[in-house]
């Protein structure tokens, strides 16, 4: 085999040939089939494949469809693309004039293609032989294959009938839009709710404030209510450890503890030891109550 086919092709013709080769990648069961298609449909001489052009076209087809392929199949196409690029590189490498290739870098590819096509032909022959053999039936029981029901008689509708039916269709209901009113949850409501709770119990779990309502409005209102009440020094907010439960203590506790001045109204992550410093009557053990489910 002779000749480098990597001379820069006429720009116009290569553009044309590329444009006409946006074929669907999934038409091809494998990379060799695609390559063969490119070669055949352009009447390329397989013994002198223009590697540059073919590689470019091959890559273009792959790029257009490869994302839709399964990974394994995509890999197969990429592998051949890499082979084509390697061959192209080998052809481009300069060699000293007196050194010849052992073999044209394209030779292996050509052999593969010829072999592939050979087996395609054989597969065709086998397919024909199979079809012929299947025309002979042997012993077996015959079960009636399901036939679709045949519609008897022609369907005829007159225009008058059609109009009558169309006229009988009732007017569609006017579109009614329903507006679901959003109930405004006020912070005041939450505040009085908290006060009520705290009159009944010493301490209250923050998450209990909104009970079954998990709407953002409720949570935000509850949080603001707590903060406001804390600012008014009506309650104390405490969290034993980070991301732990948040407890609210009514000012009843404050009176009991008698250490009002030291009580904090700030929400702060504090560990048990720190709390014992601040609150005399409250021991870590009290605070580490078994969590109430909320």
């Amino acid at each position: 085999m002779e000749g480098l086919s990597t001379a820069v092709p006429n720009r116009l013709s290569s553009q044309q040939s590329e444009d006409t080769f946006l074929v669907e990648l999934d038409r091809f069961s494998g990379p060799l089939e695609l390559l063969l298609h490119l070669i055949r449909s352009q009447d390329i001489d397989i013994f002198d494949i223009p590697i540059s052009q073919i590689t470019r076209q091959f890559q273009a087809v792959i790029e257009s469809g490869i994302e839709d392929l399964e990974l394994d199949r995509a890999g197969e196409f990429l592998e051949l693309a890499a082979t084509l690029i390697r061959i192209k590189a080998q052809l481009l490498l300069p060699r000293p004039d007196d050194v010849q290739w052992d073999e044209d870098p394209r030779a292996e590819l050509v052999r593969r293609l010829l072999e592939y096509e050979l087996f395609q032909e054989v597969a065709g022959v086998l397919g024909g032989a199979e079809a012929e053999r299947r025309r002979h039936f042997g012993k077996g029981y015959l079960a009636l294959r399901q036939q679709p029901e045949e519609v008897r008689g022609k369907l005829t509708t007159t225009l008058a009938e059609l109009i009558e039916v169309a006229g009988a269709i009732p007017e569609p209901d006017p579109v009614t839009t329903h507006v679901a009113p959003t109930r405004v949850v006020t912070v005041e409501e939450k505040m009085s709710a908290i006060r009520t709770h705290l009159n009944q119990t010493d301490r209250l779990l923050f998450s209990r404030l909104f009970g079954s309502w998990r709407d953002r409005e409720h949570v935000v209102a509850a949080l603001l209510a707590c903060l406001e009440l804390a600012r008014q020094q009506v309650l104390r907010i405490e969290q034993v450890k980070r991301f732990g439960f948040i407890w609210l203590f009514g000012d009843n506790d404050r009176k009991k503890s008698g250490s009002g001045s030291k009580t904090t109204n700030k929400v702060r992550p504090s560990d048990a030891s720190k709390l014992t410093d601040v609150h005399d009557t409250e021991t870590p053990s009290e605070l580490s109550l078994a969590p109430v489910d909320s």
Binding site: S29, G30, P31, L32, E33, L36, I39, R40, D43, D45, I46, F47, D72, R73, E76, L80, R111, R112, L113, L114, E115, Y116, E117, L118, F119, Q120, E121, V122, A123, G124, V125, L126, G127, A129, E130, A131, E132, R133, R134, R135, H136, F137, G138, K139, G140, Y141, L142, A143, L144, R145
Partner: protein, 211 residues
């Protein structure tokens, strides 16, 4: 009861091809020679009478099967079991294994350019190929070859009935015919004759006469 009738009854009742030796077991009066004569007689009779079926022969196996012209009628029924109509991938794989057996999966995949594990499984399920040995190399990979069933499925008497490379039109070679020599193409394929001649495993496994 003539030998012809006995042979006819035996063939009719059998679901698989029978060799003359197997048919002869039907009665002491039969031997292989008598059976063969009877088979010829049956064949002539069916043709002469214009019967819808015929004595179908493949290798040394005989069956009574319907004539192919009746296929359109019979295709309206589901006849169990009917051999599958194979996919292109399956036919391609069979073609390669038929010519290159014994062949491992890796080599097969190199020729096809695509993964082939599932086709191989399908073909094994249909008993068209079988494991005929293990390769020498790393991992001792499984090697596949075609089966007797393969020949029956394609109505081939033996692997030699497969087309020789030289007889196939290879369109790619058309363009520079003078450069493509017989040996070029021939070297692509170890024709079935040579693989049998070298006494490779395929020869023994594939075309067994019924014992």
């Amino acid at each position: 009861m003539s030998p012809e009738q006995i042979v006819e009854a035996t063939l009719f009742a059998s679901q698989t091809p029978l060799t003359p030796r197997e048919i002869a077991r039907a009665d002491e009066s039969l031997d292989v020679g008598v059976v063969r004569t009877a088979l010829d007689g049956l064949r002539e009779r069916y043709e002469g009478d214009g019967r819808a079926f015929q004595v179908y022969q493949l290798g040394d196996g005989y069956q009574i099967l319907t004539r192919p012209e009746f296929a359109p009628y019979l295709e309206r029924f589901d006849s169990v079991p009917r051999p599958p109509s194979l996919s292109r991938a399956a036919l391609e794989t069979l073609a390669i294994i038929a010519y290159r057996q014994p062949l491992g999966r890796i080599e097969l995949e190199e020729i096809r350019g695509v993964a082939s594990a599932s086709v191989l499984r399908t073909l094994q399920d249909w008993e068209l190929i079988a494991v005929v040995g293990r390769g020498e190399g790393l991992g001792r990979p499984l090697l596949y070859g075609t089966t007797k069933h393969f020949l029956d499925h394609f109505a081939l008497q033996s692997l030699s009935d497969l087309p020789r490379a030289q007889d196939l039109p290879i369109s790619l070679a058309r363009t520079t015919a003078e450069e493509v020599t017989e040996s070029d193409i021939g070297s692509l394929v170890r024709s079935p004759e040579t693989s049998e001649a070298t006494g490779s495993m395929s020869g023994e496994e594939v075309e067994t006469e019924s014992p």
